[in-house]
Symmetry: C2
Subunit: 155 residues, 2 copies
């Protein structure tokens, strides 16, 4: 049965094959979020992951595909639990920068480690393949950041 799915998939275009793999990996990652750190909601985990550096709330909103009021709520909650703090953006005093506290950094790094573990367990790739996959993933991410920012300002 597995062979059937797999051989059918092999006939699809490479782009679709790629996306289906991405899909599967992402869901495994989500699954692992459910297991560790039970006191954080999904959305909170996502925000921590996105906060690899201080970011404006508006940037997060378009990054996380949601509206400002949702970001406010998530940030409130993470601030209350001591994972981040709001700091005025010196460039524009209307805007806030969300900055991880030490605790926030610790939890973020835990999430990152978990993500790495999930990849190792779920992918079944050997070391060489992992390195090659990572190289492409980095390229993809750079590309998305590049094309994504202008698109994020849509509407």
């Amino acid at each position: 049965m597995t062979d059937d799915i797999s051989s059918r998939l092999a006939r699809l275009s490479p782009e679709i094959q790629a996306m289906m793999g991405v899909y599967a990996l992402y869901w495994k990652l989500e699954e692992s979020f459910d297991q560790i750190e039970t006191d954080l909601s999904h959305q909170e985990c996502h925000m921590l992951i996105k906060l690899d550096e201080p970011k404006r709330m508006g940037v997060l909103a378009s990054d996380m595909l949601t509206v400002p009021s949702t970001i406010t709520a998530t940030a409130d909650s993470l601030e209350a639990s001591g994972h981040l703090s709001r700091q005025r953006d010196p460039e524009d005093r209307r805007a806030w920068l969300l900055v991880l506290t030490e605790r926030g950094k610790r939890v973020r790094s835990m999430l990152e480690t978990a993500a790495g573990d999930v990849f190792r367990r779920a992918s079944g790739l050997n070391d060489m393949e992992t390195i090659e996959f990572a190289r492409m993933a980095r390229k993809i991410r750079d590309n998305i950041i590049e094309i994504g920012i202008p698109e994020g300002l849509k509407k």
Copy 2:
């Protein structure tokens, strides 16, 4: 600034780099779901994608990381809109198989095409790289299906 993020990422372990790329791609995919097919909810899109072949509701629940009652609701809605039908599983008459209708197949194939387009636009990989990435993605997906099924029966 982008260079800063990118060079920092380059210092992380390959597994984490890989996961961050996966993360970014998946979010782009979600974004595209928001744009096409406005009469389908997110969850409904996900269910259609998962239904590459008839599946039991329980299998979908563990696949989609949710509880049975959520699957019931989503299936009800997709059934009402003519995208799928319930058929008793002949193997076990307590269980239902969710089977896509012609319309459901059409929409699913549209979503698949959209996913492929997102990959092409978002990844920025050339043809060779795309083929290589796809090969690994297929391997990963196979591995996840293999290791995932026993894990799915947890609890």
